[in-house]
Each structure stands twice: as structure tokens, then as C-alpha cells.
């Protein structure tokens, strides 16, 4: 496996990375944001998810200005519940990234698996899997997510609902996203299967799962990686959109999307920081991941290098 990893991260890719300032900057920003999210409990001055530490009277404090009632000062101000924006954004990013990563991993595993099976088995299995993919495509991501969210909320026991919201989000975003992984994996695998080494492996009687995982899978890694990166950005934005429609992370444990939903209702009233800072964070996150994905696509597709 190390050999294959090495093949992905071979010198071409590294060289291309060193040549692209955009890639380097966006990689730095992405890594910095991910680190901030992981280390949120260490960096954040407050724990916004612990309601007993909140003082409602701190609500709507302006950035860097002492609150009129309590006299406390917050770097990026506070939201409508008196939560420190800076801490809340860090914790919110944690949730956004967790949902994004988990959803993409879920979609990737499911999609690649189904795509490879479809390509390798062919015939009826292929037809059935790809028809299911069609059904899935019929429902655009946002609809799938709304539906699954609705269904899952119905199944979850009342007292577990607020903890379940995150997993439901992951499931619904993941399920709405697996098709493109399946299609790419299947397409790439179909090309590989016709190559001589795979035919040879089949001839010498290697077991199908070994052929799939040992020989075909490594060859579909690079297109999958590109899709995964772009999907991550999409998943983070989809989560925000679902929150806007009221089916996202709960307000007591807000993601960036939930923060933006909360903030947008204070946009006209002059409390701009409640919307602005989460929105900028989301933009930085999605943009840097998108730029990375772009660069990765160009770098892994040498045809585009003139």
C-alpha cells in the first residue's frame, strides 16, 4: 500500500505543488483552519456548547467593545445568545468539517464500492446499480437531504433527536453524493479491466475482490481524490443550505451553516458581525478547499499542462 501512496504523492505532484502559489496558499489556509477546528477546545476562550457558562445579557456585544450590561469584551462580538463569536466559529467549524469529512468518506466508500462492483460484475448487477444511481440523481442533493432528514427525525426517539441531527446530516449529504463517485470509479475501472494485467490476473484465477482492491482500486484513486476534495467543499455548503432551510445542525450546537442562518436574520438590523464572521470563515474554508481541488485536478490530469 505504501507503494501506491508513494505513486500518488510522486514527484510530479510535489513539483506541481511547488510551482503553484495558489495551491500552496490554499493548502496553508485549509490546514490552518482544520487545525483550528481540531484544537478548538484549546484555542477558544469560551466553550459555547456548555449552556451553563452563557450569560444571556452578553448578547449582541459588538466586536472589541465592552457590553453595555456586563462590561465584558469579546474579540469578534457575541451572538443573540451571548455566545462569544470567535469561540462559536471555531466550534462551529469543527462541526462543519466533521459533517463534511464524514459525509464525503461515507459517499466515497459507498460510491467507489458500488462503482467497482458494477464495473467488475457487469451485466445485470451493473444495470441495477446504475439504475439506482439514476433514481438517486433524479433527486437533487438538496431534496435528498430534506427527505432523509425528515425520515430520520421520524425514526429517532425523542430524547435522542438533538444528538442525532449531526449523524442525520452526514447520512443525508453522503447519500446525495455517492453517485458521482460510483460513476467515476466505474468508468475508470471499465478502462482498467480491459488492460492486459487484469485479464492476466483473472486468467491465473485470482479472486475477484483481490483483483478489485489490489489492481483496479489504486488506478481510480486520483480521479476519486479530485472528486472527494470538491465534494468536501460542496458538502460544507450543502450543510449550510440545509441549515438555512431549517434542517441542519441544532442551534445549541451550531455549525457554520447554522451560525449563518442565525446571523442572516440580524443582517438588516446592524449586527453585521453575527453573519459576517461565520460567512467569511465558510468562504475561506470552501474557497481554499475548492482551489486545492482545482489544482489537484489540473495536476493529476497532465494533458492540461501545456
Amino acid at each position: 500500500m505504501t507503494g501506491h501512496l508513494y505513486r500518488i504523492w510522486d514527484s510530479d505532484l510535489c513539483w506541481s505543488f511547488r510551482q503553484s502559489p495558489v495551491a500552496m496558499v490554499s493548502a496553508c489556509i485549509s490546514i490552518a483552519l482544520v487545525l483550528c477546528a481540531i484544537l478548538a477546545p484549546l484555542i477558544a476562550p469560551y466553550n459555547p456548547f456548555d449552556p451553563s457558562t452563557l450569560n444571556l445579557m452578553n448578547g449582541f456585544s459588538r466586536p472589541m467593545e465592552p457590553n453595555a450590561f456586563t462590561g465584558e469584551t469579546f474579540l469578534l462580538g457575541t451572538d443573540d445568545q451571548g455566545r462569544d463569536m470567535f469561540s462559536t466559529i471555531l466550534y462551529g467549524m469543527r462541526i462543519s468539517l466533521f459533517v463534511g469529512f464524514m459525509a464525503v468518506i461515507f459517499a466515497m466508500v459507498l460510491g467507489v464500492l458500488l462503482g467497482l462492483v458494477a464495473a467488475y460484475a457487469g451485466g445485470r448487477t451493473d444495470a441495477i446499480i446504475m439504475r439506482i444511481a439514476d433514481v438517486q440523481l433524479t433527486f437533487p442533493a438538496i431534496l435528498v437531504a430534506i427527505l432523509i432528514f425528515g425520515i430520520a427525525k421520524g425514526f429517532t426517539p425523542v430524547h435522542l433527536r438533538d444528538q442525532m441531527a449531526i449523524w442525520v446530516l452526514i447520512l443525508s449529504i453522503g447519500l446525495s453524493d455517492w453517485v458521482q463517485f460510483a460513476r467515476v470509479a466505474r468508468g475508470a475501472a471499465l478502462v482498467e479491466i480491459q488492460k492486459e494485467y487484469v485479464e492476466a490476473a483473472i486468467l491465473i484465477g485470482r479472486r475477484p475482490e483481490i483483483i478489485i482492491f489490489r489492481h483496479i482500486l489504486p488506478n481510480v484513486v486520483s480521479p476519486i481524490l479530485v472528486i472527494a476534495t470538491i465534494s468536501l467543499a460542496l458538502a460544507i455548503i450543502l450543510e449550510a443550505t440545509l441549515s438555512f432551510l431549517g434542517v441542519g445542525a441544532p442551534p445549541t450546537q451550531p455549525s457554520l451553516g447554522t451560525l449563518i442562518r442565525i446571523g442572516q436574520s440580524f443582517f438588516f438590523s446592524g449586527e453585521w458581525w453575527i453573519l459576517f464572521f461565520p460567512a467569511v470563515t465558510l468562504l475561506m474554508l470552501a474557497l481554499s478547499v475548492n482551489l486545492l481541488g482545482d489544482w489537484l485536478r489540473d495536476a493529476l490530469n497532465p494533458k492540461l499542462d501545456d
Binding site: P51, M57, D80, Q81, V158, R161, D162, T252, F268, G270
Partner: protein, 525 residues
């Protein structure tokens, strides 16, 4: 010829300028559900209906009952079960036909049909009958001293028009029926419906033959009504001048709207109280972490929770000053309200903590709070703030906020231990509150009582209110019931909502406590 032309031109110009100046573009979050005035008992539906149709008695912009199509009403001197009404003469419907007692009898009978959504308000009625062309009588099954309070939304339709258009039956709304009456309207009211696309656009124009010309300002000659669901879009439309009048300005945007030199915000307390309900009668709670016991059954826990709610902070921060902290779940307009009942529990964390310890919950417990997120003003934010306040006394509250369509069944089916609810009192009488929220849950009463509370002595008192004709005795019973409800801490009152109507500077109106705009009262500068 020249003279005629000139005067016509003048008339046209006058018409053009007045009609331009007197158009109101009105927006609110929701649209009327149907034009059939008996098919749905719902706020926005009735608000629109009140412009087109009229009732015998109505509430004016201050909430006082005033004559409308009835000029006078009184209990009959001969029979305590009968109310008599004197009807207004010289009134015509929009299609020109005359209004008389036949139409009233017909409309009341229609409002009592099985498909009618108004029939519960008339459930005590035995018979309605005409007494001459402009006399009308209602006979109830027993004495009903508060009957007129139930008549403010019983609209009068034209018998002839209804019969001619084959729409005598009330629209079967839930069955999805569409009738002539659900798409067209013919009332006696100040405005005539000229165009309607449900959920998109409704146009009303002044009725030139209205009986109240000269009595009411009637400055508005045309109303364009558009529902705008998204709050930010609604405010943007007001700020950009595309609409003149919105009924639901989000509290956070009041400053922005009021600060605009062309706009103003008027407010008034609403006839609606917001409170928490708790499972006080159950043996054990589903959503808590206490095994085999119900912490909410302990009055000390309820008292601790009651004084842990910082109502003033909710008012200042969550509601931006736009609420009136409440000590009782009875709005101030309602018969039975007293200042003594409405004493706000003093916020006292230390006392709350010691009460919790006394009750054996010094380490607190965990519970789920169910909250609607599309029903009341800032409902979700109120619950969120409460989560923080209860955390101060060791109660870990998991918040489950959902749309009202998912929230209300939890209360109905007793699937929630702790919930937010709001209550409006259209009859302006405490009996209405007791019937729905305090009486033991039975087929007839207590349908919104999610507390599992049951007290047969109290139930008997509540039932007696329906037929007690001695108002002094009746009010004494109401006071006794409130005493008991307050002593039990059956509900945790939070506040009374405040209505905020945003409008252009030229608009002059009062804010009605039932959130009902009535354009015939509106003045334009």
C-alpha cells in the same frame, strides 16, 4: 360637449390621483387559506375575510366589542337561554342584493354545518331564528352569558348568492373541495375582492355602497395583499418601499425600520401568552435521566425552574424589549386577569438551587425541551436562552426545535415532557384557557393539556363556568381556579407577545391585540 369632456377629464384626473394615493401594498408572512368564511378558523384567513365579509359583532382596533351588522344585542327578558339581536337596516351585499335576517339565519346555520371550522364556537347553540326582517334570536342549550364573545368571527353571507352558486354547503377544506365560495366572495364589507391568486396576490377595492361610509375613515381605496414568507425579504420589501404595511416585523429589524425616515413601527401587546408546559402528572419521564421518578412532579422543582427563568433578560436580549414578562398564562385583556396573579416570579438562582437540593436533585437532571421553530416570535431563541438558564441550576436541557407540524402532535399525544406553547384567547375569557389547558384531558376538554395534570374538583369548577349566569359568582370561580393553577405552578409563564406593525409614515392605524388589520379603520395622511 366641450364642457362634458372637461368635467369628465377632471373626474378622471381626480379618480386617478386619489386611487394612486390611497393604495396600500400589504404583506405578511402567510396567506389566507380560503375565501369561504366558515371553512377555516385561522388568523390570516379571517383577517382577509373581515375586509370583505362582516359579522354581527366585531372587535375594533382596541379589542372592544362594537356593533357591526347587529346594532344592538341583549339577553332576552323572557327566556335566559335566548339572546336577541337587532340587525342593521339598509345594508347591501357587493352584488347589490339586500341584507336581512334571512341571510343571518342562513349564515349561522351554515357555520354550524359539519364541515364548518366555526362550529365549536357555536356548540352551545340550540337554534337560530329570525324575528321579523331585522330581528334575530339565538337560543342556547342552557344559559350562555358569554355567547356574544363567540360571534366576532361568524361571517354573514348572502343566502341568494350562495344558493344561486350552489355553495350552500361549507367547503370541505380538508377533503380538498373547491367551491364557488372558496374562490369568490360576496359580502357586505368595506372592500370588494377584485383579483386573487392564492399565495401570490390578492386585490381588494373599496365598496362604493358600503353602509359605513361617513362612519369610518375608509381612506384606503385599494389593497394589494402579498404573502412574503421569508422575514428578511419582507423587511427588505418594506425598506425599499415596495410594500407600505407589514404585520410582522422581526424584533431585530425594528430599529432599522423605525430609523428609516419614511417608515415607522407601531406596537401593542398581543392577546397571546408564551409559556413552558411540563409533565407534572406522569409517574416517570421518557426524556430524563432519573429512573423511576418524575422530578417535575415535585412542586419544589417546578418552583426552582420558575425562578430560574430570567424573564427580564429574555425580554431585553431575545425579544429586544418587545415582550411583557408574564407571571400567569392569562393575557391582560382577558376576563379573570388581575395584577396580583401576574406577579413576575423573582429571578433567584441561589434559592432555586436550594429548592433543587431540597427536592433531592442537587446534582440536577437531564431532560429534553421540545420547541416549535416557526410558530411564535423568536420561539427557538427563547428555548435556547432557557437551556442556558436551566443549566445554571444543574438541569441539562437537550433542545429539540422543530416546525409546528411536528411539535404540536407531541403535546397532543403526550410524547413530550417539557414543551413551549403559546396561547391566544379569542373569547377574552378565562374559561377558554381552562377548557383547553387546565381541565383533565378528555374527549371534550383539555385537548391541549400536555401536563397530564388531573384534578376532579378543579374540573367540576371549570365545567360550571359554562352555565353560570351570575357573573359575579362566575368571576369568583374563575379567581379560585387561577389561584389553584398558580399555586400548583402548573405552567411556567414567560411573556406576553407584543405585536409590531411596520408601515409607511402616511399610514395611521391602531395595532389590534388580535393581530388583525382592518383597513376601514386605517387613515392615510
Amino acid at each position: 360637449m366641450k364642457k362634458i369632456f372637461f368635467s369628465t377629464l377632471c373626474a378622471m384626473l381626480a379618480l386617478a390621483s386619489t386611487s394612486h394615493a390611497e393604495t396600500i401594498n400589504w404583506a405578511r408572512a402567510g396567506d389566507s387559506l380560503t375565501l369561504d368564511p366558515h371553512a377555516q378558523n385561522e388568523g390570516p384567513t379571517h383577517t382577509l375575510a373581515h375586509q370583505i365579509y362582516e359579522t354581527l359583532i366585531m372587535r375594533d382596533m382596541t379589542g372592544a366589542q362594537v356593533p357591526n351588522l347587529a346594532t344592538d344585542w341583549a339577553p332576552s327578558a323572557d327566556n335566559p337561554n335566548v339572546w336577541t339581536f337587532k340587525l342593521r337596516e339598509g345594508v347591501t351585499f357587493h352584488d347589490g342584493s339586500e341584507f336581512d335576517s334571512e341571510d343571518v339565519v342562513f349564515s349561522f346555520e351554515r357555520a354550524m354545518m359539519p364541515n364548518s371550522d366555526m362550529k365549536e364556537l357555536l356548540s352551545s347553540v340550540k337554534e337560530v331564528r329570525a324575528n321579523g326582517k331585522y330581528g334575530f334570536e339565538i337560543e342556547t342549550n342552557g344559559p350562555n352569558p358569554v355567547l356574544p364573545a363567540n360571534l366576532n368571527d361568524i361571517f354573514i353571507m348572502d343566502k341568494g348568492w350562495t344558493e344561486a352558486n350552489n355553495t350552500v354547503e361549507v367547503q370541505d377544506f380538508e377533503g380538498g373541495e373547491e367551491t364557488h365560495a372558496s374562490r369568490n366572495a360576496n359580502g357586505t364589507g368595506p372592500y370588494i375582492l377584485t383579483e386573487r391568486v392564492p399565495d401570490a396576490k390578492t386585490v381588494l377595492e373599496a365598496n362604493p355602497n358600503y353602509w359605513g361610509i361617513g362612519t369610518f375613515p375608509l381612506h384606503v381605496t385599494k389593497v394589494n395583499y402579498t404573502p412574503i414568507k421569508n422575514a428578511a425579504t419582507r423587511v427588505a420589501a418594506l425598506l425599499s418601499g415596495e410594500v407600505d404595511f407589514i404585520q410582522d416585523v422581526p424584533v431585530q429589524d425594528l430599529g432599522r425600520v423605525d430609523g428609516d425616515p419614511n417608515l415607522k413601527v407601531l406596537n401593542a401587546p398581543q392577546n397571546r401568552v408564551i409559556f413552558f408546559g411540563m409533565n407534572v402528572g406522569g409517574d416517570d419521564l421518557v426524556s430524563d435521566n432519573v429512573e423511576g421518578a418524575n422530578p417535575l412532579a415535585d412542586k419544589r422543582v417546578r418552583e426552582a425552574m420558575n425562578i430560574a427563568v430570567n424573564r427580564d433578560a429574555i425580554r431585553q436580549i431575545v425579544m429586544r424589549g418587545q415582550s411583557i414578562p408574564a407571571g400567569v398564562i392569562n393575557p391582560p385583556f382577558v376576563n379573570g386577569y388581575t395584577d396580583a396573579l401576574d406577579r413576575i416570579p423573582a429571578y433567584d438562582i441561589d434559592k432555586a438551587k436550594s429548592l433543587m437540593a431540597e427536592a433531592g436533585y442537587g446534582d440536577g437532571f437531564t431532560i429534553t425541551l421540545n420547541c416549535p421553530n416557526d410558530r411564535y416570535i423568536n420561539d427557538e431563541a427563547i428555548c435556547q436562552a432557557a437551556v442556558g438558564m436551566f443549566a445554571q441550576i444543574g438541569i441539562t436541557v437537550n433542545l429539540d426545535a422543530r416546525p409546528k407540524a411536528q411539535h404540536f402532535p407531541l403535546i397532543r399525544n403526550w410524547e413530550t415532557d417539557f414543551y413551549l406553547l403559546g396561547w391566544g384567547v379569542p373569547t377574552y375569557d378565562s374559561e377558554y384557557i381552562f377548557n383547553f389547558l387546565v381541565h383533565t384531558k378528555t374527549d371534550q376538554r383539555g385537548s391541549w393539556n400536555g401536563t397530564r395534570y388531573s384534578n376532579s374538583a378543579l374540573d367540576a369548577k371549570i365545567v360550571s363556568l359554562g352555565s353560570e349566569t351570575n357573573l359575579a359568582a362566575r368571576n369568583a370561580t374563575i379567581a379560585e381556579i387561577w389561584e389553584e393553577v398558580q399555586d400548583e405552578i402548573l405552567y411556567l409563564p414567560i411573556h406576553f407577545q407584543v405585536l409590531n406593525w411596520g408601515m409607511g409614515n402616511r399610514v395611521e392605524t391602531l395595532v389590534a391585540p388580535n393581530d388583525r388589520a382592518v383597513f376601514k379603520y386605517m387613515e392615510l395622511k
